[in-house]
Structures are given as C-alpha cells and as structure tokens.
Point group: C3
C-alpha cells in the first residue's frame, strides 16, 4: 500500500491548492517563479475543474492541464491531483435535476455554489466515475503525479426521493427484516411501526420530534453513502496507479463522517484546519484536530488546507498577525504533519472566496503574507529531513466515537447546553495545558498501550466497547470518564438503570437517581472545585468507592460529584478548566504519565516528535524556557544551554 | 351525562399513560406489581397504539390489548382507553400523502414524529373513525373501561389544499355571501376583495402582512376542525358506552383551541400540566391553569399528564427536587383536581421521549422518583374520600377569551412586547400572591355570582360581551380592566375612537389620543407605582372620574394612568407585580372579597376546597403558619392548634 | 417634460393616501369637511383599488372613483392618481399562479398580503397594462388629476421559472456571449462555467455560498425588471396625459432599486419616510434620505408618505410626541420637499395596517394627532409661496452607488459587521452635526461644482468612476475616502493589490498588506482618535504622504490609520462620531466650505433653502440661537433680532 512517505520522500510537503484555470497562462509563469521562491514543492490541481475539463457532457479538455502538469514537473513541483467531483458543472443539474440534494424541508440545493450533488444519485455517480476514469487514465504515468485527492470536504446530506431509496437499501442490508428495524428504532413509541420498507423515509421535517434512532441511522447512512462515493473513485484511480497514495480531505472534527471508518480507507489521512486567529484557544483546538488526525493516520498525516491569512466564512474574519502562520504551521509538524499546505496558492480575484487569503494574497509578492510564507518554506525545507516519518509517543488516549456524538446530539435530549465537541475540547484542553501528550482512540480499539484512558463523553457505547473498557481497567489501566457515558446501546436504547450496569459497578455507582443538567452559565460547588454544565444525583455503593469529591450545598449536597473505585474515575460534572487540569494532572501522575517537560511557563506548548522537542510560544511576549541540558535548534542551527528564549509567537525545534 | 365522579367513585385517580407495547409481556407483570405498590388505580392505554392495533390497513390486532385490559381489571386498576388517532401509522401517509399537513410555507409535515394528520382530511377521518369504532365495539363492555380519552393534545394546523376546501366550506357557513366575508375581512384594504369562494386560501406565506381577520378566522376554523375530529370520535364511542365519560387532554393555556367551546363537548375536562421546576413562578402558572381548567369543568377536573421528574422538550430539563412532585400534585387537588396522573408510568427506553421522566424512571424501583410517587399514592388514597367531588368557591372572576387572544396576537400590532399569556399571568399572579381565590370566565358568561371581575386584556369584545360587562357593573359589580381591552369587534374591526365608546364612558375616558407602548425593559413612573409594557395618552371626562392615579414625568405627565369611575377601574399600564398586587388587594377589599387566610407568610399558598384548607409551602425552608383555631391534618392524622409548621415543599390538608 | 411645480403651483402639497373604498360614502362627506379644515390640497387615490376597479377579470367599476374625483375637484383638492398594480386582486393569482413570486427557497408568495406579483410575469404585466390604460383613458381629462403615482413601493424579488427566463434574456443582452458571462462571473472558480444559457438560474438556495457576481447581476436585473414595470405604465399614462407629471414612491435608502437610474425616469421624485420617533438620530437619518432624494430630483421633491403618529411594522411602535410631526415635516421642506404627505388620511379600521396612524387617527377629530395636522396644514399654506421651487446649495457631495452596496453586501465578505447603510449614515451624520450642507452624487457624476467630495465606502468602482475621482482631485478638489473603497471593478473582480492602484497612488498607499476588521464593539486606538469597525495594515509610499494619523498600540502600532496626500484623504477605520465630525470639519474648513451657521447650540439643525433659513430644534428643551442680524420668521410673522428662542421641537423659517 502506498503511503504518505512515498510522496514526501524526506521533505515536508509545502504548497497548496492551485487553481490556475482562474488565471491567464502568463500568470502561471509568475506563479512558478514565486512558488520556487517560496520553496513550494507540492500543489493540488483540479479540485474545482470539472466544468473546465468537461465543459459539456462527454467533452474532454485536458490540454490546459497537460501543460500545467508538465510545467510543474519541469520545475520540480509535485502534483496532488484532485478528482473534480465535489462541484459538478451546471449542465449536470440542468440535465439531471434529480442529482441535486434536498434538505429536510424539501428545499433543493441548486447549482451556483458547490457540492450540489446527491451522494445517492446514480447519474451523479456515473458522471463522477467517468471524469475520474478519464483523469486517471490520462495522468497515470505523468511524472508530476504524487498523490490523488478525491473530491473535496465531503459534506452533503440528502433527504430526497433517490436518497430515500438508497436509505431503504442500506437499512435492509443492516436489519434484514422490518421487525428488526422496528425493534431497533423503538417504533412501538408514537405508533411508528413500519409495515413495508417503502414506508421508510429520510427523517424529513415532522410536526414534532423525529425518532432518534431513525435520525442516528440516517447519519450513519449518510457517512456510508459519501464513503461509497469516495471508495468508488479511489478504486478507479488505484487501478491505474496502484503505487500512488490516495486521500480525501476532512474538515476538522466534522460531524458528518465517521472518521475512524473513513481513515481506514485512505492511504494518506489529510485534514483542513482553520483555527480562528482571535480565539485564545485556537492553538488548542488545532492541537486536538492534529492529535485526532494523527491517531486516524497511525502516524504522519497531511495538513491539506490552512489559511495563510484570513478566511472569509466567519462573521468577522481576522488576518493572522505576524508570526502566527509560521507558529501554527510548526505546531502541525510537531504533532505529526509531514505536509503543510494551504487553500490556496494565489488568492482568487473572483468568486465566493475571493476574500479567503492565499499564500500569495491580493497584496502580492511584497505583501507581508507572502514574505512570511517564503520564510516558512525555507525553514520547513531545513527541518524536513529530521522530521518526516517520525512518530509521537503518548501514554494517554482520549476516546472518541462519531456514533456517540450522533446519538447524543439529538433533539429531545436533557440539555441543549451540552455540546459534544465542546466537552471533548474541555478534556483535551486540560491535557494540553498540562503538556501531556495524548492520542485519540475508538472505544473498541486496543487500549493496552496506554497508561491512562479518558472518556470525555460517550453517550452511546456498544457492548464490545464496554467490555473493552472493563478489560483495560482489569489489566491495570487507569480510566477517567465524564458524565453522559454508557447511557445508550448502539440502537440508542437507554440501558437499564439509565447507565450501563457494568460501568456503574466499575465506578461504584449503586443508583443514578436523576441527571441534573445546569443552566447556561450556572455552576455547582463541589469540595475543592466548581462544576459546570451538568450534575448528577448519585447514590454510591456502600463501601464500594475508594474516594469521593462531594457536591457542596444545593440539592445534591454531600452526594458524590467525582468517584474513584480502584483506578476508575467517574466525573459527574464538567469541572472548570483549572480544576479539570489539576484533576487530570494528578491522575496522570498516579498512572505514571509524565508531561513532555515539567515547569513550563504559561503560553508555551511542548511536543516531542521522534527525537525532536518542539517548543512553541503562543503568547505575544518573549518567554524564556528552562531546558534539561544542551539542545541544538535545527531551525536556527544554534545551541541552547540550559534555557532558550522564544520571541513572540516564536518556536524552536530542538535536538537534545 | 356521565361525569368524572363516575370514574373516581370517591377515590382520587392516580396513575398515568401506560405504553406497554414498548415492553415485553414479562415487564407487564412487574409493572402491575409496582403499580399496586404505588397505589396506582388508573392507567391510560392506547394513546399511541394505532400501528400496533392496525399494523396494515384494515388489519386488527387486539389480542395484546385484550390481555392488558384483563390484567388491569384483574388487579383493580381502571383503564382510561384512548383512541390512537393522534399518531397515524406510517402506512396512512404512504398510501395517502394528502392526509399530511402542510405549514404556511408549504412544507409537508411527514410521518416519523407524531400528529402528522390533517384535521380536514376525509381519508384521515375515515380511518380514524374505523379504528375508533373497532375499539369501542370491542371494549364497550369490558369491566376495566372507566373513561374514553380521544386522541391526544390536538394541535395541528394545516395550510394545504384539502384544508383550503374545508376552510371555504366553513367560511360559507359563517358568512353566507362573499360580500359579507369581504366586509368582515375589510378586504377593500390592499385590494383583497374576493370574487369567488375558490379564491380564498388559508393564510399562507405572503410577501407582507396577511389580512388579520383572515388569520383570525383561520384560527377559529382550525379550532373548529379539530373539534369536529374530536366530536366525531366521541359520538362513536358514546353510542357504544353512553355511561362512560369522555375526555380529551388539553395542553395548558394553549393558543390553538377555543377552550370554552371545547370543554362544553367533554364529560370530563382534563389537562396536561408541566411547569418548569426551575421557574420561581412555576406554582403560580400551574395555579392559573388549574383555575382555568376547573372553570371550564364547572367543578372537579382531571390532571391527565404531569411529569414525575424532568421533561425533555425544554432547552435544559431539570428534575424535580425532593418533595416537589408531591407538593405540586397536592396543589392540583387543592384547586379541584380529582385525578393526578402522569405521562407516563414507565419511562421509555427508546424513541423521542426517552428522557421524559416516568413514575418509574430509568433508575427503577430504587430510584428516588418512584419512591416519592409511592408515598404520594398512599397520601392521595388517604384523602380521596374527603376531597373528591368537592367544589371551590370564589368571589372573583378573571375574564379570558381565546378569540381576543387570537385577534390581539397578530403581526402588525403596536407592540410585540405585549404577549397575552404573560399579561394574563401577571394579573392572576397578583391575586394568587394575595390568596384571593379566583375563577375564570368567558366575557359573555353570567357574572352575577362574582363580587369582582377582572379583565387583564380583552382586545376583542363582542357587543354581547360589552353589554354583559355593563350590566354586571350596573348591578353593583366591581370591574377592573387592563389596557388593550374593547379595541376591536368580533371581526377585528377597530371600534370608533380606538376603544368601544360604552367602555370609555364606563371608565370615564373622553378621548384616547394615542397608545404609548413601552420598549422592552422600559418603565413608566406613576403616582405611587411604576408601570411596564404600555402607557396611554388619555383625556378623561370632565368631572366624570372619581379617582385618578396620574403618570409622573415624561410625555404623559399628569395624564391618568389609572382611572376609577364608580366601581369601574381602568389600568392603562401594567403595574409592577407588587403594585398590581396592592391595587387589586385594595379593590378586592372594597368589593368585600377576603383572602383565603390573612397574614400568611411569603411562599405559602392557601386554598379552600370544600371543607378542607390546603396549605402549601413553595419555599425550600420550613415555614410556620398561624391558624385560626384547631385543625386536623388529614394527611398525617395529627392535630394542629393555633399554628402548623410546614417543612420545605411541605403541605397540610386541614379539616377545621 | 412636466415637473413637480406643475402640480404644486406655488403651494406645498399637503395631504396623503386616501382609501375611501374602505368607508361608506357618508364618511366621504365628513372626510372632505375635515380635509378642508386641515388645509389638505392633495390626496392620492387608487393605490390599492385594483380589486375594486376590476372585481373580476375584465370587469370595470369606475363609478365610485368618478364620484370621488368629482368630489375632490369640487372641493379644490387635487388628486394624485395611482395605478393599482402593486396589489393584484385574488383572481389574478387564482387564475394565473405563475404570476406569484417565489423566494430563493422556492416558497410561493401567495395573495392575501400585497405585492404578490412577479415583475417578470407576462400575464401580470398584461393585466397591469390593461387596468392602467383604462384608468388613464378615463381620467386623462379630469380636472382633479394632478399627478400619476405608478404602483407603490416596488420591492419584489422573484426566483421562479419565468424570472429565470427573463434573467437569461437580460444577461444575454448584457454579455452577448456565454464566454463573456463566464469571465465576468469568474465561473472558473468552483466549476461554475456555463455551457448553455439555459443553465443559468436566479441565485437560488445553494449548498454553500452563491457566486457573488451572479448575485450582483441578479440585483441589477431585479432593479431593471421593476423599472420596466414602472416605465411600461408610465408610458401608457403619458400617452394620455403628456402634461401630467409621473412618479413612483421610493422606500428610503432601499437596497433593491438603483435610485440613480430610476429617478431619471421620473418627472417627480418621491419618497416614503418613516424615522423612528424614539431614535435619537431619527432626524439625521431623515435628513440623509432628504438630501439623497433631493439630489436624485435635482431640486424639489415630494414626501409621498410619512406617519402622523406611529407606524405598525416595528417591534414597538411609538407615537410621535407633541410637535414632532410638525418639526419633521418642516425639516423635509427645509431640505427641499415641496410636498408633505402621509400614509394615510383616515386611519383604517380593518386590515393589516389598522394600527398605522392616519392624519385622522382612531381618536378622530378631537384627537391630538388631527389637531396637530391641522395646525401644520395652516403653517405650510402660509410659507408655501416663499418656499416652493427654491433650491439648496451645497459645496459637499457624498458619493453613493447602489451597485457598490450590492457588491459589497454579499455573503463571504470579510466582516458582516460592516453594513453599508450604517457607514453612509455615520459619514452623513458627521456633516449634519457640523451644519455642513451636503448633496449626494453618483461616482460618475460631474463633481466639479463641489469643493469637497466624500466617499464613505464605494467597494465597487468602475474605471470611469475612478477616472472621475482622479480628475476631480487633479482639478483642485478635496477628496476624503473611507475604507473598502475601490476594491472591486464593476464585475466585482478584486483589483490588483486589493485596492485600485490609481487610488492607492492618490492616497499614498504603497502596499495594502491586510484588512483588519474589528469585532462587534471593538475599537482601535489612533493618535487623537479612536476607530471602530475596521482597520488596515498599510505600508505608505516613501515620502509620498503629507500627513499621517497613526494607529497606536496593538498589531498596527505606528502604521497609518489616516493618510493625506495633497488634498486626498484616506481613512482606514471608522472614527468614532465626534472624531469623524472633527476630522471632516477641519477638512471642510481647509477646503473653504463653511457651515450654514456657526456656533449653533447642540440639538439645533440649520438649513438654508433659497433665501430662507430654517432652524429646527430637535431637543425637548427650549434653545436660544444667536442670529446674524435681523430676520423675519415667516411662520409667525414676527421679527427676530440677534437671537431667537425655539421651544421644544420648535422651528423657525427666517427670511434675512
């Protein structure tokens, strides 16, 4: 199987999406000059080129792309070649309106934007396969080709009639019989029992709440349909180029794809990452995605898209202050990226994203943005040989499962204040601020390599997953679980007692009387900490619990907020950031997990990748860091003894 | 005519919706054991059983229900049997998509939730009648049957084509001629004159404001169509069981049904009541609904649904703290309920309401919720004989009319800050906090039994209603009216002068120059009080007014905020809570109305029902109440002399 | 060409929309009596009379209108006769549903409100022409007829199928070839290249951002289609009455019509103006519209609609305090209005606008509103002869272009906090508060008459416009430009360098590195002022700039916030109100522009129209104003020497 290293070959990939069809060919020459100036060694071509390649049905216009492929190759720039299937040409919708998706309200998603295709449409799939096949056949042997990029940010839902047919097929394959479906969906509730498969629709707009298992299965179905689109194209290109790795780019922590299943189907795991330059926790939310993506990839991964400056899809789109693009790029490398790429090379002058920055922004070559890009390109070239292919070791795993998210995020739940991604971020933040390296894992993964496993919130857990957790603890592992974990089985059926009995026993919970969700902004006092978002009325086992942090005051006074039984911890509220950090730091220490570096000043992130120690200063003031002994900074080719000072947004890549 | 007492027979009904089709039959045995343990004497079966009873068109599966009816009867538990027509099986929508409602935007309300039926659909009505007939025929003579429960929480609108046909039929019956319709609707405005009946549609999405009388009539039509659905099923079951009372459950103070007309068609008036456990005025908003429901019933009524713990449809769904379920249940009894029932007996494990609590919650038998339910069941059994059938006497009536609400709540009104239910709550609160017992009445009802009549806001008043008010005052009654009263006639035509001339004369208003609605959060100073929400520029009659509280400062300085002429009061703003309380306490005293008990400490609610005095402590601290003489607490079988101490959320039911 | 003066003939028109079809004929008699009492000399008939005039297709009922025309004429009241085409009768939609517009989501806009017509519908246009023709033929020679009022507040969009056909026709006419369209739209982005004209649709709901040039052209198309509707009706009436002026009423600063193009097609420019009585800047926002309307009219204009009291379409609709109606009416006259009219004469008792005030409100003749109207009518009659036809001179022009607004207000821009109308208001306010008279102009207009030209924000500028600005400065003019100016060309193509190079050179900007939009409520410190909304990272030309106000602190510390090069100023943030006022006052003074009057106290507005000096007191306290010498107040026929005191909301109209 081809891998990312087949493309990187010892260099960090540096470059980005390149959409030369927006520019006259004379601009291409300037592009190449500036790419070389900036150290660009990889561009992604063709992401949105369908209408250019196939301006009318069946037509083929490859000449311009031939010239580009040759131009890139002639200048030593590799090409990640995209299938253009995320944005069909207007003629597809015009001739085949059934390829257009519909939302739950029945609204058509017309062409004129992008991603206006139904994953379930046979006509769409047919045309997507044809253009993919033509591309693969034409460029299979082109020396510029280094990777395949299938589609782009898969993210379409469809509630229309063809999707309904596909959904039924998917459900038949899953359930076999209607009785099984009716049972799994609890269709006895609200008189929802189906008597024919034809009665099943996507969960369209209803008078009142839709059936949650129906919605859950529809999300699984959607992920699977999109995955079918992906694998169909992947298999086509693979047949032509078995040696060339294939990827598709994820959006960060996006709700719609089961990332664990998807990444298994990729040779290279890639992600698009756009933290808000104004977000004080932007670096942490990026670190989370980086850790997750690396875990999906089981090693080095590709940063397919980031922005050199502002994006254009927030309410207010801030540029990156001087140094931030470099800092966040090095952070990605520190956390496993072997490719630092952008959307896009040259900022567009027209179209819906003309205010999304490029490596070469509207200000052009003299602009600060390009100047910083150029500096970064040089630095990445310097460290590439030492970095690429190397791995990161972590003693901690955070468990995450899209199925749990999907099941827990439904209408009719106890609290709309509980947002799964926010809970995940809160727990990851506590580790990140403590410099505790962490992986992510699926709850059914082998966890034996970890000293500490953290479950921020897995509302849905299969029996296999529960057995896995129990076995992990039994084998000596330390487990910390947040609330709303183990509530439902894989059909979103609430487990007896409101929480799985095996887990209750594991944590020493005799009876879970009531959930006490907190209002927005409300907090709950506990012994030595303050909780947010949630609390619970728990009756612990008599003599079954080794340690308790009780609630203080209010209705839950004296009841356990946090319970420990052996090496299993249950945290029934979300402690405030510093309290969760302190709690996890203690648990980690007891589990024998040590931070990357001790005694780090605030604002500094430390990551060890392979032999190298990355130090990143996320603050706007210079910070001095004490170092254990002498290190060599491979960015600056200088030696640091005992300490190193990082400027504002500064970074060091140190070899001990 | 059968009545609630035919079902209660001296006991307070205690139980709830029971949906055993969600559970295997072995669970039914456990259910019966626990029901008996908890003192349950009534369950509601079949509310959402249509797909189970008729799994495909015309099929009939009654065996499971036969066994349940026998099981209930064998264990002394009566059955409120529901027609399952609020949630048609998927096959109805699949085979007859025209039965699905459409909203004003044209969106279909698909099956997959509940209540996806058009009230106007002939096909729906046909199928609903058939299953109702089959149920009634089968169980007419079953000894478990104690009441019929038609449909559930009627609440569907429909703007589709079949509803359009029905709307036209309704309008023809009302108006006879298009000229009459055009005149009533003021169709000369904006060129809306209809030349054919076919031109009339439901008030669908329009470019700008819809005609308000059109919208008003559509609301009346909707209430009437739903009522037709109800009476059709009622008449079917009545033919089989003339001796069994019939009900349908209202949602509390719900906008869509004209409750006065509906309750006339019921043998038992029942309501679902879900105050927010976190709402500091939850008990008062419950008391309002209880007073209204009792007034609709002209006596004892049925609490059909409440929650033993949290519901699942708020943003954040709080459980009931220890004692609150009991307290609020006893409050319902105090205010006339002869039935204390829940949605639902056993909390669902699947479906959209699995986080809505049950009497038997996820925590099961050991859970606090069930333990409290069990205690309550025992207490209700103890007091049932003394309570059921007894009445409540009140010297005050609050006037309420759905038509006034509908007409006043339209787009294009002067202030969207004025919400009718909030105004109603504000006035009721002032009486509730003063321990002044109150009924509700329709403005055309005979008011002669009352010493004080309060009109919080009746934007629309018919001539008959105005005559009724005038006659009431003429006969010596005291009347207090809030603003926005008597503005429009029954067609929503603004009365000359902006307010009915007879009412202006009654209150001593010569000219109502302008309405001065207040912004959100804005207040207006008056002599001795502060007003909210509204103010008015009124020129009083010369020498016509007996008493005035003037506005102070601002544009209205010196003009009357409150006017009294004889025993008629007009209040042109909404005084802050304590000021409205003081004003009404004074007026009540002058009208000879006395509170249930004088000198009560804060947090205590006192209600007299028949011989019994209910004392309810809504605070979380123990409170001591002085009593006039010796009382016997029938809950505890103890004697209280001169005073009684009620614990947190405590209650006493005292016989003098 | 007929003009407004043909209708005014030395009087200020005073009156309003009159909808007598809502009332019995006996009310008409009373109306005439009260109109005469109030000095009404003009009413607008027929705005919403289509269903009355043509109750079924092809029918004609003119008798009632004949009687009204005669009645008006007999009482010396002129008639502005409206074509009733803004609200088709129900039969049009019923018989021809294709005349109903659809929004971007595909929702039909049904009849039942108003303006439910598609501008592109051939059937609608046919019926509109027929009723217009019939009206024009019938009343061409009626002596009451003084002006034609075409339709009403044109404002409909349509995304339906017939609009799609018209849009394609419009695009073909504009672009000639698909290649030209694809190039202008930047269709290479996101694979949007069209291969057939049939592929082009209105910019309907899409999965993600629509193409901005597509949206821009659709706005232009919509304005043009509506204009076609207008000119078609105008041409019909003109054929019958070449001597009678024609108008259509604009909504104030409304986004949907290119006002510069529209006003060229009108004999009389008229506008509807409804400032919020509670808005502390209500008078300024009115002044802006008045200045703009006067500039569109190149002289006197018509205030077609205002409210004597509250409107009914805000959330909370406040009445006008005593005096405000008069004050704001005189303000309109001061700024060029020769007509002061209302919606509407008699407040409706029915329909969607029955809480929109009238000159004769619900309170009737005794009501304060009517009494104030009557006083105003008398005053306008007194000053009419001195005022009508006179002009206002201004040395300043604010540049405004709907195309720039449309292009800049799209999704996917850098900051949704930047709202074009608010920016325009902020700059106009700075002049208004400094008593600097200003016109508005299109950026391609001849600017040579102005000493100072201000560009608050012209995101889109054509090459012609840029040349115009350069020539203006070259000829000695002073130019002040706000940020986001000159960014895009007429196809919304970002100009090289992110801002037009000629403009950058004009202002001394070498490189515009990055835009730094500010968050809501955020400010940025500059030397001596504080900026809001926006900031920019600008590198000025070496030695090219004559004056700089730098940013202080933060990322932009020391970089220029404001640059002056010669007489060209660039302001890269929005200074806080007092700072912008001070800046513009200084620039104006340096450019030789003087305020209307110096040293005016706060709250006073001073306007010179012809010979007359209007002084308006917008405060609620009396204010004394010093006057240069003796003046005669034509309102009161008194003499003011050296000073004059204006009461609360008072006004004086002074002849030197």
């Amino acid at each position: 199987m081809p891998r990312l290293s087949d493309t990187t070959r010892g260099r960090i990939l540096f470059g980005g999406d390149y959409n030369p069809e927006q520019w006259p060919e004379e601009t291409w020459t300037e592009d190449v000059r500036l790419m070389k100036d900036a150290g660009v060694n990889s561009v992604t071509l063709g992401v949105f080129s369908w209408a250019r390649l196939e301006p009318e049905p069946g037509a083929r216009e490859f000449g311009w792309l031939d010239r580009l492929m040759d131009l890139m190759h002639g200048n030593g720039i590799g090409v990640v070649l995209a299938t253009p299937t995320s944005s069909p040409p207007p003629w597809l919708g015009r001739l085949h309106p059934e390829t257009l998706p519909r939302d739950a309200d029945g609204r058509v998603e017309w062409w004129g934007g992008r991603q206006h295709f139904s994953h379930s449409s046979a006509v769409y799939r047919h045309h997507a396969a044809a253009i993919t096949e033509a591309l693969a056949a034409r460029y299979a042997d082109h020396p510029a080709l280094t990777m395949w990029h299938i589609n782009n940010e898969y993210c379409t839902f469809d509630y229309g009639d063809e999707a309904a047919v596909a959904f039924r097929r998917w459900l038949r394959a899953k359930y076999g019989t209607l009785d099984a479906l009716n049972s799994a969906w609890g269709a006895a509730f609200w008189s929802q029992g189906y008597d024919t498969w034809d009665g099943v629709l996507p969960p369209r707009h209803a008078h009142y709440l839709n059936n949650p298992t129906h919605v859950l299965d529809f999300r699984r179905f959607t992920s699977d349909m999109l995955l079918e689109c992906y694998t169909a194209e992947r298999d086509l290109v693979r047949r032509h180029t078995p040696h060339i790795p294939v990827t598709t780019n994820f959006m960060p922590l996006w709700v719609g794809q089961d990332g664990w299943r998807w990444s298994e189907e990729e040779d290279v795991v890639s992600v698009d990452l756009y933290p808000d330059p104004r977000d004080p926790l932007g670096a942490q939310s990026a670190a989370l995605v980086q850790d997750l993506t690396r875990s999906q990839a089981h090693g080095p991964w590709m940063l397919m898209e980031q922005a050199a400056g502002p994006v254009n899809w927030r309410g207010v789109n801030h540029p990156k202050p001087r140094g931030l693009n470099r800092l966040w790029s090095l952070q990605a490398v520190a956390r496993g990226a072997d490719a630092v790429c952008y959307f896009q090379w040259r900022q567009s002058r027209q179209g819906a994203e003309k205010f999304h920055s490029g490596m070469l922004s509207h200000a052009g070559e003299r602009g600060r943005t390009f100047q910083e890009v150029k500096q970064l390109g040089a630095e990445l070239a310097r460290i590439g040989g030492e970095v690429t292919g190397s791995h990161i070791t972590s003693d901690i795993a955070i468990l995450h499962d899209w199925n749990a998210w999907w099941a827990g995020a439904q209408d009719g739940r106890l609290s709309t204040e509980v947002e799964y991604p926010e809970v995940l971020r809160a727990w990851h933040r506590a580790l990140w601020e403590s410099h505790l390296a962490t992986d992510f894992a699926h709850p059914e993964h082998d966890l034996s390599a970890y000293k500490l496993v953290i479950v921020p919130q897995l509302y849905l857990l299969t029996d296999t997953a529960i057995d896995n957790l129990l076995a992990y603890v039994r084998a000596g592992g330390t487990l910390v679980s947040g609330f709303l974990t183990g509530i439902a089985d894989e059909d979103d059926r609430v487990r007896s007692g409101g929480m799985d009995a095996r887990l209750r026993e594991l944590f020493g919970i005799r009876t879970l009387h009531e959930w006490w969700p907190l209002d927005a902004g409300e907090t709950v006092e506990c012994e030595g900490l303050r909780g947010t978002l949630w609390s619970e009325e728990i009756e612990p086992e008599d003599d079954g619990v080794d340690e308790v942090i009780p609630y203080k005051g209010g209705e839950l006074d004296g009841l356990p907020a946090v319970l420990r039984k052996g090496s299993s911890w249950y945290v029934s509220t979300l402690p405030e950031p510093h309290a969760l950090r302190a709690l996890l730091a203690r648990v980690a220490a007891e589990a024998g997990v040590r931070p990357v570096l001790a005694g780090l000043p605030s604002g500094i992130e430390a990551v060890r990748r392979g032999e190298l120690l990355f130090l990143l200063n996320h603050s706007r003031e210079p910070v001095t860091v004490e170092l254990p002994g002498t290190h060599h900074d491979v960015l600056t080719d200088t030696t640091a003894e005992g300490e190193i000072t990082l400027g504002r947004y500064g970074a060091a890549v140190l070899r001990p």
